[in-house]
């Protein structure tokens, strides 16, 4: 049977028996997703290529111990997230400390309750909100997220996985995923607000 007609679990069985074309089909099926996830996690294409290679190297080396308790894609995303975090720890980091991060998250809470009027930029045209410069700023803002928030945000809001899948990939409870996601979003919302406010002046 042609590999592209088989489902993931069937391909994994064949690859475990040493079938190289089954392995290549699995790689072709997921390489775009893994690469995109890697770019968002590490913030640049050079490191993302290393993450991509490391991920599939780890997949090949540990495929023998994959028992199919979770789906192949869940297992693969876990390996990708770990490979990205390993890469991030090797280079100089831009992320905030947990304390600085939480201060920024909760500054909104203070601001909302103060007399200060918050600026609503949500109705601005997409052309302005998603200018090339704005997109670059959004990528840099992800780089400032401490890793435990970044991983959750990228899997849930960039890749669009359900919270229950993110919980399984990262071995967290669903409420823990939701709480980290909320803080990450609030932090990013602040960054976007500061950027768009400066831009409108």
């Amino acid at each position: 049977m042609k590999p592209d007609l088989l489902n993931d679990a069937e391909l994994v069985d064949l690859a475990q028996e040493g079938d190289g074309s089954a392995m290549e089909e699995l790689v072709s099926r997921y390489e775009d997703k893994v690469y995109n996830l890697a770019v968002r996690m590490v913030g640049n294409r050079e490191d993302a290529e290393d993450v991509l290679q490391d991920t599939f190297l780890n997949v090949i080396r540990s495929l023998g111990s994959f028992r199919g308790k979770s789906s192949f894609s869940t297992w693969l995303y876990r390996i990708t997230a770990n490979a990205a975090l390993t890469r991030l720890r090797k280079r100089s980091r831009k992320e905030k400390s947990e304390g600085e991060f939480l201060d920024e998250v909760y500054s909104v809470k203070q601001a909302a309750q103060s007399g200060e009027r918050l600026n609503d930029w949500s109705d601005s045209p997409a052309k302005r909100l998603l200018s090339e410069e704005a997109k670059a700023m959004m990528g840099e803002a992800i780089n400032e997220l401490p890793e435990k928030y970044r991983t959750v945000f990228v899997l849930r809001d960039v890749e669009g996985l359900p919270a229950s899948d993110v919980a399984e990939i990262l071995d967290l409870s669903v409420p823990a995923v939701k709480s980290r996601l909320h803080r990450a979003r609030m932090f990013l919302r602040n960054h976007l607000s500061h950027y768009y406010a400066g831009e409108m002046e």
């Binding site: 290549e24 294409r45 599939f56 080396r61 909302a112 309750q113 669009g160 909320h182 990013l188 976007l192």
Partner: protein
Amino acid sequence: MMDCKEIFESLSEYIDEELKDAACRQIEVHLADCENCRVVVNTLRRTVTLYHEIPSETLPGDVRLRLHKMIRMEHPKD
């Protein structure tokens, strides 16, 4: 009525429509009266949709070739 601090932690679940009806109503009662929290909700929701709208990174052809070369070395075809 709940204050700004009390609804703050639930705002992501609110925009994701994951709250039970009663909790959702409490937030809406607050939002009707609090302009700043409405701004936070609008801009939080827009932040999430903007990140969804950024196009995916496409895998460059040369990166793909190097990956498949590595795969064939590590997991040779029989």
